[in-house]
């Protein structure tokens, strides 16, 4: 909302207070000034000049040589406009002035006027066009002012621009500040300046208003008050300069003297008004009611046909709808050039009704904005008087005596008791009862003393937001000043087991970062087809920003691939990434909220070179075993010591894939992402991806394993290799070797898988490094020979394996 300082000045005396101070104090009162602009600064160095003589430039046909009186002296100025003539009052820019808009620059950048010779003759300034001053479109002609403009007047005050415009952002609880009067009230409290007394002058004539028009409110639940006045014999025309400038200054379009007057009063007092052409109101009767069943369409004055629904409130005459209450008037009763008699509506409508209507119509107006936040029901009559004064001044006409005023009752101040100790307890202050009273009365809330410690406050109807003592306490804090409340920091330390965080997630992040993974954070909103890829019961949004973000993610894979794709597009090809994030789906059962299940996942992404940029080693691309290695490393870090990867070929998004099980519980998937999936993200290199259920993982982890004494005797390590069928899974061989070792088993790893020369076709050689140990003694050659014999027999029986060689270290 824009607020003009000049306008405020008519309501409260702000003399000697700087713009900066006004902005600061308003902000500190909770009325945030986002910015302010001193308009007069725009036209420094420009004055109103009087053209005395015009003659042709001796060296150029299209240029004129002008003598221009600028008050103190006469300047000679060269002008290229065809319309320049002696006797005109024109805007003159002097040397040093900044011309806001350069007509010859494609971007229109401002430029500084310098003393310049044009075709051999010096020009001491410039006569400007509307376009050059940024005041309009016209660039071919210079701007010409009224003949009575005073020569030498600086341009800003002449244009009414000796003003500052504050741009204010208001919280929804303060509709009382949606006007100059409301802001003036706050400033009067902030600077202890008295509000200017309101004097409204108008003359009523002729037959009483009740003979010209009638009002009937048949939906008082939605319209607590409807007031109206009638003015006859007006002449609709352009607004006078002051009115036009005032409404334009705060960003409204000037329409005509009647409409501008209603807008002006709304911006001054906060009461939305609407003017009807009385002749177009059938039967001169206004009926406030809900629409009838056949009334489903209505054309508002912006020319758009609107759908009407039965709960909306309408302003009607005897035959038809003439306005949507509190939102917008209709074409059928709009003020036009032929209008002579007007009925001015100044009403109070139900906030929630106006809000619903405005939302349903998708139509928000200055009026609806105010009504849905709440307008003072006691403002209708005062606003009518003020608008009558202005219309009679600017459009003539005679004001019918009296006011039509239909109301559900009287609107009285709300009485609230305020306990002094409650104020101090909540704010942490030590204010005396008298101080509280003084603070509240500065914002027009009179307080009586019920007792030494209790005040009785009468909250005026313009502060509909104050309903309880706590609301008054806020007012006390706000006006007393939060900056005047001393900080207190006496927090007592406590340990509360109810709110302990899972610390392992922090550890995991540290661990993965240390293992060379960059953490990523991706969008949890996705296109529906991607969400559907992993889970058919995904969550969709009713009002997405776009189809690209219409569903909640069901996997961390799409976000990861997007991130891989982005980096590839920048030429970064090697990456190790991880993410900890949520996925969402709909279940059949009741969950914390509805049937929505949110689970935490951890993902691991490998793509590119496993060992980037080594000068002497062969470049090794990541493969599925690097992925397994990282997953296994994570499991080991969480102190898990056994798990199973089961081949799983039905996942569409993977080409080689494994399901991970720990203690029979499925933890997630790991695999090489399929070409088809990669294509969707324009990723043209292999991506290895694992996604595990984080909550399950953390539940399974071993937290505090008790310390186990260190082995007393050294392990015996040796290598073994077997020749087996090509398709025999190595993991099965390991299981067998493990069971053959029994209690002696300590560790096993695969160090070679080989087929080719020296190995029969269809077979492979698998080489293992085995460590055995005992708690009782150092194992001897017989123990090991015994194991090898047992292992050879077992593997030969189970897999027809043939012992190839052994090496004892």
């Amino acid at each position: 909302m824009k607020i003009s300082r000049k306008w405020l000045q008519q309501l409260v005396d702000l003399t000697d207070i700087s713009d900066e101070d006004i902005a600061y104090r308003l902000t500190m009162l909770g009325i945030e000034v986002e910015s302010y602009e001193n308009l007069s600064g725009k036209y420094d160095g420009f004055v109103v000049g009087a053209v005395l003589e015009v003659e042709k430039h001796p060296n150029a046909d299209k240029l004129s040589l002008c003598k221009v009186d600028i008050g103190r002296e006469v300047k000679s100025i060269i002008c290229g406009a065809p319309n320049v003539a002696a006797g005109q009052k024109v805007p003159v820019g002097l040397v040093g002035a900044i011309v806001p808009h350069n007509q010859h620059d494609p971007e229109g950048k401002p430029f500084e006027l310098t003393r310049a010779k044009i075709r051999g003759i010096e020009s001491e300034g410039m006569i400007c066009s509307e376009s050059e001053l940024g005041l309009g479109e016209d660039k071919s002609r210079i701007m010409v002012f009224e003949a009575d403009a005073a020569t030498g007047t600086p341009l800003a005050p002449y244009l009414g621009l000796d003003d500052t415009v504050f741009d204010i952002s208001l919280t929804p609880n303060r509709p009382d500040c949606l006007s100059h009067a409301g802001i003036a009230r706050e400033l009067s409290a902030a600077f202890s300046r008295k509000l200017a007394p309101r004097r409204i002058r108008f003359r009523e004539e002729g037959a009483p208003v009740g003979e010209s028009a009638k009002v009937e409110v048949s939906a008082p639940d939605l319209c607590p008050r409807y007031s109206a006045r009638v003015i006859r014999g007006i002449k609709v025309g352009p607004s006078p300069k002051w009115l036009k400038e005032s409404v334009e200054r705060i960003g409204m379009r000037s329409i005509n003297n009647v409409v501008d007057a209603t807008n002006y009063v709304m911006m001054e007092l906060g009461q939305p008004l609407h003017a009807f052409d009385l002749k177009l109101v059938a039967g001169h009767k206004v009926i406030v009611r809900r629409p009838q069943s056949e009334e489903t369409k209505f054309t508002t004055l912006d020319g758009k046909e609107r759908n009407i629904s039965p709960d909306m409130l309408m302003i009607c005459d005897k035959e038809k709808i003439v306005a949507i209450a509190g939102v917008m008037g209709g074409m059928n009763s709009e003020i036009n050039d032929e209008t002579t008699d007007v009925l001015i509506e100044s009403a109070n409508f139900s906030a929630s009704s106006v809000r619903k209507t405005s939302k349903e119509l998708g139509l928000s107006t200055e009026a609806s904005y105010r009504f849905e936040r709440g307008v003072d029901p006691n403002l209708t009559v005062h606003a009518l008087d003020r608008v009558a004064e202005i219309i009679c001044d600017t459009a003539g006409g005679t004001l019918a005596p009296g006011i039509i005023d239909v109301a559900v009752g009287k609107f009285l101040p709300r009485r609230i008791e305020l306990h002094v100790d409650h104020v101090n307890r909540l704010l942490g202050t030590r204010l005396a009862s008298g101080e509280i009273k003084r603070v509240l009365e500065s914002i027009e809330i009179p307080c009586g003393k019920k007792s030494e410690t209790v005040l009785t406050c009468a909250v005026p109807t313009f502060r509909g937001d104050i309903e309880r003592d706590v609301d008054l306490i806020e007012e006390v804090g706000r006006v007393y000043g939060y900056e005047n409340i001393a900080d207190s920091f006496q927090t007592k330390l406590s340990f509360d087991t109810r709110f302990q965080e899972e610390g392992a997630i922090y550890d995991l992040r540290e661990f993965l970062a240390g293992a060379g993974f960059n953490e990523i954070v991706t969008n949890s909103l996705q296109p529906a087809d991607l969400a559907g890829l992993h889970e058919s019961a995904y969550v969709t949004l009713a009002n997405p920003i776009s189809e690209d973000m219409a569903a909640m993610r069901t996997s961390l894979l799409p976000g990861a691939l997007q991130s891989v794709g982005l980096n590839l597009s920048h030429g970064l090809k090697d990456m190790k990434l991880f993410e900890i994030g949520r996925v969402y789906r709909v279940t059949d059962d009741q969950q914390t909220v509805g049937t929505f299940l949110e689970s935490d996942r951890i993902s691991i992404v490998l793509s590119g070179t496993a060992d980037p940029m080594s000068y002497d080693r062969k470049e090794a691309k990541f493969d599925i075993f690097d992925l397994k290695a990282e997953v296994e490393r994570l499991l080991r870090y969480l102190n898990l010591d056994s798990w199973d990867f089961i081949s799983y070929d039905t996942a569409k998004e993977y080409e080689q894939s494994l399901k991970l099980f720990v203690n029979g519980m499925e933890l997630g998937l790991a695999g090489r992402v399929s070409e088809m999936t990669l294509k969707k993200f324009s990723v043209e290199q292999d991506v290895f991806f694992a996604e595990l259920d984080l909550s399950k993982l953390l539940a399974l982890r071993r937290r505090t394993r008790r310390f186990k004494g260190l082995p007393k005797f050294p392990f015996a390590s040796f290598d073994l290799s077997f020749i087996v069928e090509d398709k025999t899974p190595v993991a099965k061989l390991i299981d067998s070797l493990r069971s053959a070792a029994g209690e002696m088993f300590r560790d096993i790893s695969v160090f070679d898988i080989y087929s080719g020369e020296g190995i029969p076709a269809g077979k492979k050689s698998a080489a293992f490094s085995v460590a055995l140990g005992s708690e009782e003694r150092t194992l001897n050659d017989n123990d090991i020979a015994g194991f090898i014999e047992k292992a050879e027999k077992k593997l030969s029986e189970e897999f027809s394996a043939e012992l190839r060689k052994q090496k004892i270290v």
């Binding site: 902000t27 500190m28 909770g30 945030e32 910015s35 919280t171 929804p172 609880n173 809000r355 849905e372 307890r425 909540l426 704010l427 942490g428 706590v470 609301d471 306490i473 939060y482 900056e483 409340i485 001393a486 207190s488 920091f489 006496q490 927090t491 330390l493 406590s494 340990f495 109810r498 709110f499 302990q500 965080e501 992040r509 060379g516 960059n518 953490e519 954070v521 991706t522 949890s524 969709t540 949004l541 009713a542 009002n543 920003i545 973000m549 909640m552 980096n567 920048h570 970064l572 190790k576 990434l577 949520r582 969402y584 709909v586 909220v593 509805g594 929505f596 980037p612 940029m613 080594s614």
Partner: protein
Amino acid sequence: MLDEIQKLKEEATASLTGLRTQEDTENFRLQFLSRKGSVAQLFEKLRDVPKEDKPAIGKSLNELRTFLESEFESAQKKIAGEKRADTGSIDLSIPGRKRYIGRRHPLTKTAEEIKRIFTCIGFGIADGPEIEDDYHNFEALNFPPDHPARDMQDTFFVKADAGKYVLRTHTSGVQIRVMENNKPPVRVIMPGRVYRNEAISARSYCLFHQVEGLYVDKNVSLAELKGTVAYFAKEFFNAEAKLRFRPSFFPFTEPSAEVDVNCFLCGGKGCRICKYSGWLEIMGCGMVDPNVFKYVRYDPNEVSGYAFGMGIERLALLRYGIDDIRLFFENDLRFLNQF
């Protein structure tokens, strides 16, 4: 005998200086130090030495052996070292192999810093659902239905059950859940992801992360809130951080305030980041509204409380001087590797 020892010492020393190859050293060992070498032979002769001379000669013989062994060892090492350097001239200026460096995301780092600061003074941590019902996201937080306050946050609605469920617009729903399930006093912070239906730009994204805090106990005051926030700002920004509390409005707090910190980028003189005001907005806060207490069955005459909320992205943007919020979600390695 002593002359013989001296002679052998001279002979062996001369021989040591001539050692060049491993073969030379082996020969030397055989000649002087082996079981049948010259030194051993002298020890044999010790048997025939008169008893009274034995200690002196034995001592000097031992000294000779120790001396020769140590000299031999260093000569051996020297030769081995020369040999290694000879086997190819390695350019040690070649850079080491590159390895992956992992880092936590700047949003994580910021969130963890905030958590650390509050857990240090006794705050616990609570979590809650991102898909929230209207009751916990709005109603119990004192947003009446059809109230303009609901416009303060552009809300995503879940398609199923027509408007009954939303993507939470703040983590305040967790405040309600914490109070519903726990008797006062409660002191928690609630970090989490929240959503706003706003066009994506450098300044706003469809989601962001918040940390909210809640403290309910007997006699919690606005002054205590101010002191706690001041502690946070000094820890998070710097010890000189100056704060300003401006009255504001949130349906779930009364009184409410917006907190600004003096712009540390320009020292309060005014710059582009602080929009030439010298102040940066960092959080909203206030005293829990009695209506909220009624919803969770706390007695507003018994307890009072404060709540605050801040955007992790906003704090990270300010802290690192990042000018585009989208960078947090693109995961460009050139960005991630800076933190």
